[in-house]
Amino acid sequence: MCQLDRFMLWVDAVGGYWVCLNNEILLGQPIDRAGVDVPILGDLSHAHARVRRDGEGYLIEAIREVRIDGRKVAGASPLIDGSLVQLGPNVKLRFRRPHPLSATARLDFASSHRTQPSADAVILMADTCILGPKPTSHVVCRKWPGEVVLYRHDDKLFCRGPGVLEIDGRQYAQKGPISRDSRISGEHFAICLEKV
């Protein structure tokens, strides 16, 4: 459907984030042919579970063994902020909806597993992805003075931030279009997108 499906978001001095744009994502083992959106290097099936954004809410569909807060999921189960998702015997993810006004969610790794290639967290981006100092940000950048927002409009990605933004060598005032492999920098930050 949507041509932008996922990318890595590298944030200088903060971390690397695996961003998925689709409303439905498949979690599983990192095997090329499986069409897995979030490949996790863990004891999982090729296609282990599906997470679906349904309007404002999120739903997880178990294809193989999935537990939410210790309870086994048969079929599907809603995800709420703070849910601990266990895939297979060991892989644990914490589901977060940090911002009350954004449908974007984040999956933090609660076990030592990581995506392949490795990311610090997975972001299920709805319309906006907020990078900023507050705990309500999707990407918490503790030392930043202000917020930078990636957002989607008509299936295109844009970036908004304070002051002048330099996107792929061009200068924009406050906002500008970005692609899946853009480099964006402002006065206090630098981020870089990478196709995966």
């Binding site: 590298w10 001095a13 309007g55 809410g57 709420i80 009350p100 030392k143 492999d181």
Partner: protein, 654 residues
């Protein structure tokens, strides 16, 4: 192939000072590695996260202008192996003559961040787990004749529960560069033993640094803080650390580790560890707990357990923003409530009825006292609010369930600290601590057009609610045996609608932002003055007899009766009355989408009490102003959008 350096980062110290990284993600300054992102800046250079062509994750440390003698220090450490030391794989030179240290990359927490998450210190067992890991690594270095010299939380990491120390062997750069006069990171100075000033670099300086790190882990702050590097250095040289808040054995251990004379300190890391209740074989962090703590800190926003924790904290701790008189009063009320509480419902009802009876029977005694007391209290609160617009001066931090970053206070991280203090302030609008931060990005999520549409909807709804409420009051007054002319209700209705709109419009623009409370009050006051003009116009147009407004239903409230004489009021009396009403009530909070309940009667009661006081002070508008305030408050709350603060079960399609 190499990607050229970006414009902003031509060689020179400027790039480092601006806290920007020389190489952006995707560049390949060193053959065989692709940089993904910058990680941080040390005193010696930049650190990047990179992957090799085959996909191996590494940390790359860029060392500029490196001298052979400096490189020798790192080369010494190339083949050290210990589970608590960050692995160093190799050192390579790029085409420009810059050296790169290829190191193990750690995805876990940095001790720096963990300390920041525990502003009042971490649990002792956790601190001990870190310390024993640090001690094991440092002990190994000492055993190999190497002094770390730059131990600090920013160099200490945890991965899968194991403590890892980085930057050993590199710290010589710090000393070399300092001598050659380059500006360097000053973070290190907080952990620097006094004898370093004289050029002594024995292993006692690592013991000293460990003492500071232990102190910081246990208390959340540094023993020696200062405005400048010089001040901190001076304290290291002369000041005695305040260890009074530590318990034994920590107090003694920290005090001895921080002795000014290196000879008086522990002679070795092992000796220091032996004085602490540590399982010496460990050095393994309780991983699950650390992760959990991380969860709590990162997402203090709405996880079910965090919400509960916040609610419990609110019960245990009297709300921090309380002003002392109110707090005492609330405590008294609480004790009455406790007394009333009973397992059997019959007794409970009887007790409540008894209390109510006593209150009503004695009303004629305390009511005349209560009204002026309330008035003086209100004046006191206003002055207090003006003096401390943000919150209580006594305990500014304890409101914050969110992570506060006290470390930044001491190290010039002004921005983030300022932000967290602002957040703490922002959360005191209602008595219960809110697990949400006020979301500035509401502005991002909502476009201007949506906002205007929202506003129009709210205004329409507010008008409807005002009409309903006014009709209800109009229907109720005859039942009370109280005759009021119909134009008075028309006046109340118009004033209420206009009043709620005057609140809704600015509140819509302030939605999701934090702002200066005093400034907002003043804006509201300006709105109130405008409202006063409107009300005065409405009064003229409807030919309302001020006598009808100027009266409270019961004549024995002599305070409310006063001789203004017949005839119309001057405009000024409307201006001051409405202006004051809008100034003393923080109306915008009732329109805040993040208020705790959609409609709460407390703000309404508060607004009506404020209106009563205004009517008394200005001898104007009597009961009509109280009615207007009540209607405004309810219609604003009903009409403003509201977000349920608790995480709700998402609605699922069948």
């Amino acid at each position: 192939m190499n990607v050229p350096r970006t414009q902003a980062s031509e060689p020179g110290p400027a790039a480092a000072q601006a806290k920007r990284f020389t190489y952006p993600g995707g560049s390949k300054p060193l053959d065989g590695f692709t940089i993904k992102r910058g990680v941080g800046h040390g005193g010696f250079g930049e650190v990047y996260y990179a992957t090799s062509d085959a996909g191996k994750e590494v940390a790359l440390k860029l060392i500029r202008r490196s001298l052979e003698v400096e490189l020798r220090g790192i080369k010494q450490c190339l083949n050290l192996k210990h589970q608590n030391l960050l692995g160093v794989f190799d050192i390579k030179e790029d085409d420009r003559g810059d050296h790169w240290v290829i190191m193990e990359y750690v995805a876990g927490d940095c001790l720096d961040e963990v300390i920041a998450r525990h502003p009042d210190g971490m649990p002792a067992h956790e601190a001990l787990a870190w310390l024993s890991g640090i001690a094991a690594g440092v002990g190994y270095l000492h055993d190999h004749g190497i002094v770390h010299r730059d131990l600090k939380p920013g160099n200490i990491f945890s991965e899968e529960g194991h403590v890892k120390i980085g930057d050993y062997g590199l710290s010589k750069f710090v000393s070399c560069s300092r001598r050659s006069g380059h500006t360097e990171s000053v973070g290190t100075v907080h952990y620097m033993a006094p004898e370093v000033a004289n050029g002594r670099y024995g292993k006692e300086i690592d013991v000293y640094a460990m003492g500071i790190v232990l102190y910081e882990m246990l208390t959340g702050r540094l023993p020696f803080e200062g405005e400048s590097v010089g001040e901190v250095l001076m304290k290291h040289l002369t000041a005695k650390p305040d260890v009074s808040m530590l318990e034994e054995p920590f107090r003694g251990v920290v005090a001895r580790a921080l002795e000014k004379d290196p000879a008086k300190r522990f002679s070795s890391v092992e000796e220091m560890l032996a004085s602490l209740p540590i399982d010496r074989s460990s050095g393994v962090l309780p991983h699950a707990r650390v992760t959990q703590a991380a969860d709590g800190a990162n997402g203090s926003n709405g996880a079910a357990h965090t919400w509960q924790a916040a609610a419990c904290a609110a019960e245990v701790r009297p709300t921090a923003d309380d002003e002392p008189i109110l707090r005492e009063l609330r405590k008294a009320l609480q004790s009455v409530r406790e007394w009333c509480r009973d397992s059997s419902p019959g007794v409970h009802v009887a007790k409540v009825a008894l209390v109510a009876l006593v209150v009503v029977m004695t009303a004629s005694y305390w009511l005349p006292l209560a009204v002026p007391a309330l008035f003086f209290y209100a004046v006191y609160r206003i002055i207090r609010a003006i003096v401390y617009p943000g919150g209580s001066p006594a305990c500014p931090r304890s409101t914050g369930a969110a992570p506060v970053a006290p470390r930044d206070v001491t190290r010039g991280g002004v921005a983030s600290n300022g932000a967290s203090r602002e957040e703490a302030r922002g959360r005191r609008h209602y008595r219960q601590p809110r697990p949400y931060e006020p979301p500035t990005p509401a502005l991002i999520v909502k476009s201007g057009r949506e906002r205007v549409a929202d506003l129009l909807g709210s205004m329409l709804l507010a008008a409807v609610v005002s009409i309903v409420m006014t009709l209800a009051i109009a229907a109720a007054t005859p039942a009370l045996g109280w005759q009021v002319a119909p134009e008075v209700f028309a006046y109340i209705l118009l004033a209420s609608i206009a009043g709620s709109w005057f609140v809704l419009v600015p509140s819509k623009f302030w939605e999701g932002t934090r702002g200066d409370s005093l400034l907002r009050r003043l804006v509201m006051m300006a709105m109130g003055v405008t409202l006063g003009v409107f009300a005065w116009g409405a009064m003229q147009w409807l030919a309302v007899d001020p006598q009808d407004l100027d009266r409270f239903p019961e004549d024995h409230y002599a305070l409310f009766r006063h001789a203004r004489g017949a005839g119309q009021w001057p405009l000024s009396i409307c201006l001051v009355a409405f202006g004051t009403l809008m100034l003393i009530v923080r109306w915008w909070l009732q329109a805040d989408p993040l208020r705790r309940l959609r409609v709460s009667l407390w703000p309404t009661a508060y607004s009506m009490i404020a209106a009563t006081l205004v009517a008394m002070v200005w001898h104007a508008h009597g009961w009509a102003l109280v009615a207007v305030a009540g209607i405004m408050s309810l219609s604003i709350q009903v009409a403003s959008p509201w977000l349920d603060p608790r995480p709700r079960q998402p609605k699922l399609k069948a």
